[in-house]
Assembly symmetry: C2
Homo-oligomer: 749 residues x 2
């Protein structure tokens, strides 16, 4: 009985269900100020003047701060350093922060926020990314409004299309998606002696440390960032907390008092990052026997007013633009474009749900045109061991896409799923995807992680890592890895909440990288400790060290065994090293910016989703009945948390596919809470059959690859393909709202 592969109870579950978990808004400090952010009401304007005097006179107001009060750099550092913490002379989107009001209570800051006087000269806003591409459009970033451009050049695209028997070409568009984390953004900054302590809800404490340190002009060594229990993130707490923390830190620095900033839901939805809306033009050509021969893609992201993580979101989408398929002739051009809208950023899938919707719709259309079964058509084209991706990456193994496809088809492709049920029509759709685990070549400088393991005198074990628990189950999975590695019981292991002063900068907690990166660093950290324990156990068991095994709370040699706590006690008597740090660097990756060729990721997870839907032909409503989600993520450490990831990802994708429709007017988002921005509820939850095809990845901890984002990526096209299967209607614009379906049905009647 090992610990790996067992559904141990989540480490965070007891605290969360009993209400003992401390979220940032549960924390307070004596003498703490509350902060309100004053934001732009205009999508594009010059600031003529800011008059804080009336606001300052409100009783209980301690400070009204603008960019002039920033002691360091007025920047939120991400990739391009183009975003100010507080606007100086220009505002570029509705919701852009202009001033910070700090006061003794909520009423005071609310009143003062209404009394601050800001005068603008309105400018014409640039709202559409297609407009932003045009030569004649006004420029709000650089000379061309392009934050970033990536490309892939493989084979010869013109000749490739010449040899095709069938070519189709379509435009696919997708909308915003809101992260809808349970807990909105929040931070507390506490001046403590000569350091600035930051507590808050976040994915990436080291990003926050970097930002606060830039904004305050403090050395990194004087900024400590401590993650509080974090109520969901989904990428929405990757870069954005840097902004929130810097706002709180600026107030704390200037007032020398603790300062708390919690965003309201409306403020959060209006001004925080979301999934990028995309416009994707696809042209695909196949031979008549069903082999992809040429694909040409133009992929545009509406990045919003500042670049944030758009260059890397765009890059991931670019790399995966042709899906998990072989294709000898490929041309991809992708652009992240500046507009006067809310900056978009990281979101589970990171640029891939958009392209996956497009390519998998395209694959379905090709299959139908060729009259080849969509499963069969994919089987002819998918990547297998020995193939090269469209980036020229030779797959040497750990690519079990075929097994996921065959397994999904076996469970859910044939049978009674199609046909009509009165005015309701049923259909089934399939979509495949692959997912480069980790940051890949464009983030390779961050592809490292530290871990610290400390075995204590009573046999309890603490560990610290630089990645974060945000509800995804990392703490649980890492505790299992460490417990198994050390041979102690799972119950004895506990994680110290992540902060920046316990392990070296371990990069962000994104890109499904926590298990592989921190897991490997933990295994590395355990080595010298295991040496100590095994050496002492060998003496106690009077057995050769090589025969000693550590397992489930015992040291064993042949038939002899002793309690590992006794061995640990003896290790302490002998002053053995019982604490150690581990350091893990990801395997090599590479990327040629001119050709888009290289080894962009070190390994890929893969998956196939089959969706079964029922379309109400009168209302246009789509009910997803079942999702069969078969994933190849290497070894599964904890089946229950893995299944949780799949169920959550699939449901989030149901929302993306069908409901989540963000409405804006002149750059202002109108549906800023969950009464108007509709996310799936339990009512909308299909049966989700989650299956794992296990194929241990030798470089991963106990064979694990990474899972976090993958469950969401391929679900939307499986649903829209099922809608086509049921109704013959092809949805090329997400979400597939009833209005769009009715309109399409009407146009076909």
């Amino acid at each position: 009985m090992g610990i790996i592969g067992k559904s141990e109870i989540r480490k965070d579950v007891r605290l969360k269900v009993t209400g003992q978990a401390i979220f940032v808004d549960d924390l307070s400090f004596p003498n703490m100020l509350l902060i309100k952010v004053v934001r732009s009401h205009s999508p594009h304007a010059l600031i003529r003047s800011i008059d804080p005097s009336l606001a300052e006179n409100v009783k209980g107001i301690v400070a009204v701060l603008t960019y002039k009060d920033i002691p360091g750099a007025n920047v939120v550092p991400v990739v391009l350093m183009d975003q100010p913490l507080l606007a100086e002379r220009e505002v570029k989107y509705v919701g852009e922060p202009i001033a910070l009001i700090a006061g003794e209570d909520r009423e005071a800051v609310e009143e003062a926020s209404r009394k601050i006087r800001i005068e603008y000269n309105e400018l014409e806003p640039l709202l559409d990314p297609l407009m932003a591409m045009k030569k004649e459009s006004p420029k709000i970033y650089g000379k061309d409004n392009i934050f970033s451009h990536h490309k892939i050049r493989r084979g010869n695209i013109e000749k490739g299309f010449e040899r095709c028997d069938l070519i189709i070409e379509h435009r696919y568009t997708t909308s915003y998606q809101e992260h809808a984390y349970l807990e909105p953004q929040g931070m507390i900054a506490v001046p403590y002696e000569d350091r600035m302590l930051i507590y808050g809800s976040m994915q990436c404490p080291f990003y926050v440390q970097n930002a606060v340190s830039h904004v305050l002009g403090l050395p990194y060594g004087q900024v400590e960032v401590i993650q509080t229990t974090t109520g969901g993130a989904f990428g929405g707490k990757e870069d954005v907390p840097s902004l929130v923390a810097s706002q709180a830190a600026l107030v704390a620095f200037r007032t020398k008092r603790p300062a708390k900033l919690i965003y309201s839901r409306e403020e959060d939805i209006e001004s925080m990052s979301k999934r990028h809306p995309a416009v994707i033009d696809y042209k695909s050509g196949v031979t008549k026997d069903g082999y992809l021969n040429a694909v040409e893609v133009e992929y545009l992201l509406n990045a919003g007013a500042y670049s944030t993580l758009s260059p890397v979101v765009l890059w991931r989408g670019t790399v995966h633009a042709v899906g998990p398929y072989k294709c000898p002739n490929v041309k991809v051009d992708s652009y992240a474009l500046a507009t006067n809208t809310v900056p978009c950023g990281a979101f589970r899938g990171f640029g891939m749900p958009q392209v996956t919707f497009a390519i998998e719709s395209q694959m379905d259309e090709l299959a139908h045109k060729l009259r080849i079964d969509p499963i069969e058509f994919r089987l002819r084209n998918i990547l297998r061991k020995g193939d090269r991706t469209v980036s020229g990456h030779l797959i040497k193994g750990n690519m079990e896409l075929e097994r996921t496809l065959r397994e999904a088809a076996r469970i859910g492709w044939k049978g009674e799923k199609r046909g009509s049920n009165g005015y309701k029509k049923k259909g089934v759709g399939v979509a495949c995807n692959y997912y480069g685990v980790g940051l890949g070549a464009e983030g390779r400088h961050l592809a490292k992680a530290g871990a610290w393991v400390n075995v204590l005198l009573d046999g309890s074990v603490n560990f610290a890592v630089g990645t974060t628990e945000m509800g995804q189950g990392m703490e649980t999975v890492l505790s299992q890895i460490l417990a198994d590695e050390l041979g102690v019981k799972y119950e004895r292991v506990s994680m110290i909440p992540t902060d920046t002063t316990r392990v070296p900068d371990s990069g962000p907690t994104v890109a499904s990288r926590a298990t592989v990166m921190s897991g490997n660093a933990l295994i590395e950290a355990s080595r010298p400790i295991k040496r100590s324990i095994r050496g002492v156990a060998a003496k106690m068991l009077k057995s050769p060290r090589a025969q000693v095994k550590l397992k489930d709370g015992y040291a064993l040699a042949g038939a002899k065994r002793i309690d590992i706590d006794d061995v640990i006690g003896e290790c302490f008597k002998e002053k053995k090293l019982m604490s150690s740090q581990g350091w893990y660097k990801a395997p090599h990756t590479s990327w040629n910016k001119t050709t888009g060729q290289g080894k962009p990721y070190f390994v890929y997870s893969t998956g196939t989703n089959i969706a079964e839907v029922e379309v109400d032909m009168f209302t246009g409503e789509v009910m997803v009945k079942k999702i069969i989600a078969v994933h190849d993520v290497g070894r599964v450490i904890n089946p229950q948390t893995a299944t949780g990831q799949v169920e959550g990802g699939a449901l989030q994708a149901v929302g993306y596919a069908l409901f989540e429709d963000m409405i804006s007017w002149r750059g202002k988002i109108l549906n800023t809470n969950f009464s108007t921005y509709i996310i799936p509820t339990s009512e909308d939850t299909p049966q989700i059959a989650s299956v794992f095809v296990e194929d241990p990845y030798p470089e991963g901890p106990f064979g694990a690859k990474g899972l976090g984002e993958q469950p969401l990526i391929g679900v939307a096209p499986a649903i829209t393909n099922a809608i086509f299967d049921a109704t013959g209607i092809r949805i090329r614009d997400l979400p597939a709202t009833p209005e769009k379906i009715i309109a399409e049905l009407n146009s076909h009647r």
Copy 2:
């Protein structure tokens, strides 16, 4: 220009002089309770009943807790585990804790503490250690009231005395000494999710972790102890904070609220540990040419009601009982005895000031009887390289006592210091001492230390150690060691406040061990980081790695140099390991309990003090005019902090020698504040000439040994020897108050 040996500005000075330093009483947490300890008014009684009802009914009172509320073990774990956290059926000293009252404010807990009803059956107290030794005395510990007994047997004591030409025999007694730290004891316990966080003033966070974990029955991994800025300790915050923290933790655990406990000065003096009063019988014999041939010692410590650290305090005194002298025939018996008085414990010098007073008085008497100059007499007997201590420890080097003696004599022995000035008589006295650095053989399981070093992207450097800054300058000295080792500027290095979850258990911060132990661990931690930096610098400088030096913020190779921050930036790009943990174990020590022979310490610091006094023959008042303090502590890392240690230690010893006279009646201390317990002020401060004889210790960081305790140890006998020199009066009972001097003068008239 290196950093070692330079008087860099203390790291803690800016925060302390500007008032920004946060002491435990400056900290508060929302919803925090205040605690008052209900204590025994009787030195010895059975508790008949405790009635908390009236106390509980006081408005604002949240809990009244007794031993019944302790979820774990009712013990304050130190050496013998004999002390309860809260008395159960018996109280053994005035001030013993019985109950804890927790309430919303100070007034409520004060009122409730007056309303709790405790009924006693009084028992006869045992107050005198000489009584405690007697067979017929009542027993309050074990069968014989002896907490601990140590001995040394060397040569043949009877034959040794037979061959002596002169034998003297005297009893020496010493009184309590109060630590008189600026900041009294204080702790805050904060329940945080499933952990208990302890903030407070302390020397030894790992002791506190152990204690809280025992008392609450929690795994070590769920107790985190964080040291706040600590306003002095001197040994008084070695074991005692375990008690204070456990009291606060019990309240926090039971009420699920943060709980603060700050002792008042009176409570602190009444109930906290102090230097043990001692009764020391010395018999010494010399040959007529001035060589010690036999010494017999019986050394009794009044340990008080519980053993605390008495067994190890006693052991250190035992090892050093004959002073830094050769002697072929030695018999030492020492006893720590239980009485119904306040438990005594660790105090700078740890059992050595008592025996050093005795042996150095004895040496002076012998010299005078032999008509040999006291300096000359000592020169004939002191330990040098190649000699063996009375424990048989062969000194292979790093024993520069002779140089300290000759240097002190050169500065201050001859000249106009003797004679009369009207009714004031002047005299000069000398005393030598040696000091085993670190915990020694009786604490060898704790003789280990960890350190963590983290170099950050901007070139700032954080480090964490398990030992503590308590005003002695450790943070400064360790920052210098680390800066020099890494070649970065001193200003870039900062220490993260010590807590138990950053490095492995590194033992206590006592026994002048912080510099050697944590310094060596830091050097160890720096190695892999230096490798990273030098490797990258070699590439950047296009020089062989072996030629690259890191110094003062530069990487240098021959005439070429680059800013080390640039090298560090490049290291980050290459994902080099820039953070590491170090682990240091002290060299081997040994001790035979039957013979007192072995290698009790791995190295010794040594020193000579010469005191110049003026005695007012009418009032008996002694003014110490000058102290010449020459110390051999290996290499001096920071001359200014080292001098600070010497000045502070010398002045604390002036108090010990002359003023600090604790008065008790039936076990109750009567002078519980500084209006009645007199410590030296600036008025009483002599000129202190601090000189260091440097002799680098190869095992120490940059050659350092250890300094903290040594400056206090040998000063009192130098003063009393000077009083003899001035007046012919031999003081054998400390402190040498005017009353005692007048009485002696009268008895000689």
